[in-house]
């Protein structure tokens, strides 16, 4: 039985197309993926992301626990956030996540909904011997994001908190539409924007306040369809598509969240260190379609008769008007500018390896 977010009835009333995603009935699109996408690029959109999972890690050894579990440096200042991967001993990825440091001894991990149960089992299985408390608050916390170049101007109408002073990947506690919220300048769109973590029971208050002002602000609700095209256009990976237990963060070009040089010990370190030393057989690249066609997850990539890679995500990029994708390509063919071919319905279509992000004009700070 699929779960509903606290805003399910709002999505139905708005006429959204609802589909099961990661165990939740989620809005896929309200009007059109392209219109929603462009609204976020040009103005602002509001997202219900309450399906995401939240684990609270609190106690004297919260930091050392996360240090062992995560590939990134976890010792950031309270009020800051960081992106990280979490690996298996073989360096395959358990999940990618954002962690908010609430205080010296308290962190909030935000994980992918599709991985919620797996992550919880993984995290709890390593908790033994550490002095801290771990709670799964996924059902108690709702997440509403406001993203786009006008996000700050719009969100400021609903909070006394000075949003201007919150840097990218930082957060504060405050009130939004009168309810308690963790207000974070984070997102998954390449645009400036905020994420509001609120009690599940307060989600409708925030949503309704922002939507009531929509005729003035022009903000529109955004479904998971446009969420996916927005993230792909700026080259952000999606777990299950671009990364999973068979890929390592180094292969996925996420080496910047793998702190091998720091000397910290973490699960997967040994294999990642070896992989770094010996070099990668393949890595994630940006792909631009030169001919007609759209590359998709699973599209094969060739150089002449040699199969050299596979597409992991692909779409028409609404803000660019061209088809782009992410994929893994053998090292010898992975240089920017390399011309390759994708096989779309049996036809060879020219593609080129290009730099990520595809879309570079985002308002992200």
């Amino acid at each position: 039985m699929d779960k509903k977010t606290p805003l399910f009835d709002r999505h139905v009333a708005l006429g959204a197309r609802i589909e099961p995603f990661a165990g939740y009935l989620m809005p896929i699109q309200y009007s059109s993926v392209i219109n929603e996408h462009l609204a976020v690029r040009r103005n602002a959109g509001i997202f219900d992301l309450s399906h995401m999972g939240e684990f609270r890690v609190k106690g004297p050894q919260a930091q050392s626990f996360l240090d062992m579990l995560l590939t990134n440096n976890v010792d950031v200042e309270p009020g800051k956030a960081f992106y990280s991967t979490m690996c298996y001993p073989d360096a395959g990825i358990v999940d990618d996540l954002i962690v908010y440091r609430i205080s010296r001894e308290e962190f909030l991990m935000v994980v992918n909904a599709a991985n919620l149960e797996k992550d919880w089992a993984w995290v709890t299985s390593h908790a033994k011997g550490f002095d801290f408390r771990l709670t799964n608050e996924s059902d108690e916390i709702a997440l509403i994001a406001v993203q786009g170049p006008k996000a700050q101007a719009i969100a400021s109408k609903f909070t006394e908190t000075d949003l201007e002073v919150i840097p990218y990947y930082a957060h504060v506690s405050g009130k939004v539409a009168g309810v308690d919220a963790l207000i974070a300048r984070t997102g998954y769109t390449g645009e400036d924007g905020f994420e509001f973590y609120v009690a599940a029971g307060d989600a409708a208050t925030v949503w309704d306040a922002v939507m009531a002002d929509a005729p003035n602000s022009g903000i529109v609700p955004i479904g998971l369809g446009a969420r996916d095209t927005l993230r792909l256009e700026v080259g952000y990976v999606l777990y299950g598509n671009d990364i999973d237990h068979t890929t390592t963060p180094l292969e996925a070009k996420l080496g910047w969240v793998v702190k091998l040089a720091s000397g910290k010990d973490f699960i997967g370190r040994e294999v990642l260190a070896r992989q770094k030393e010996e070099g990668l057989g393949r890595n994630l690249v940006g792909l631009a379609v030169e001919g007609k066609g759209i590359i998709r997850h699973g599209t094969e990539v060739f150089s002449g008769d040699t199969r050299v890679g596979i597409v992991t995500s692909g779409t028409l990029a609404p803000a660019l008007g061209t088809a782009v994708g992410l994929g893994y390509v053998s090292k010898a063919y992975a240089k920017t500018g390399t011309s390759l071919e994708a096989v779309i319905r049996g036809n060879r279509i020219p593609i080129t390896i290009v730099k990520i992000p595809f879309y570079t004009k985002g308002s992200r700070r």
Binding site: Q29, S32, V33, I34, G225, D228, T229, K292, G293, I294, R296, T315, L316, P318, R345
Partner: protein, 128 residues
């Protein structure tokens, strides 16, 4: 509630089919299917002139999130494709039974048309 026209025939794969006065059949995507797919952003309509068998893919529709083949509703020869879709694939959404038509086929035998789903049968298939 999607639109199903009484005077058309339909396929299991969500194409509509109309018999023209000259005996050829015109086909397109149903309203139900265009709505399910979302915005069509590209049409691969390269089947022109091909001899096709019923159920064989003769082209493809690319939406933002998905791609779907479309299939010959009858045996025959593709005698026309809608070249307007090259520049304006969104016609499949905005006017699926009109300007958004996909292809025309000269049927090998007229009998296959009569085997296609009726509007009533299609409505049941689409769950409406």
């Amino acid at each position: 509630m999607s639109i199903v026209h009484e005077n058309l025939r339909y396929t299991q794969t969500h194409e509509w089919v109309r018999r023209e006065a000259d005996g050829s059949v015109t086909m397109g995507l149903t309203d139900y299917a265009q709505h399910q797919m979302g915005e069509i952003v590209m049409v691969d309509n390269s089947g022109m002139g091909r001899d096709v068998r019923r159920g064989e893919p003769i082209g493809a529709l690319e939406a933002v999130k998905t791609a779907e083949d479309f299939y010959a509703p009858v045996d025959g020869k593709v005698t026309a494709v809608n070249t307007q879709l090259e520049a304006d694939p969104g016609l499949v959404n905005s006017d699926c039974y009109g300007a958004g038509w996909l292809a025309r086929i000269a049927p090998a035998s007229p009998a296959q048309y009569d085997e296609l789903l009726t509007a009533e049968q299609y409505r049941k298939l689409a769950g409406e």
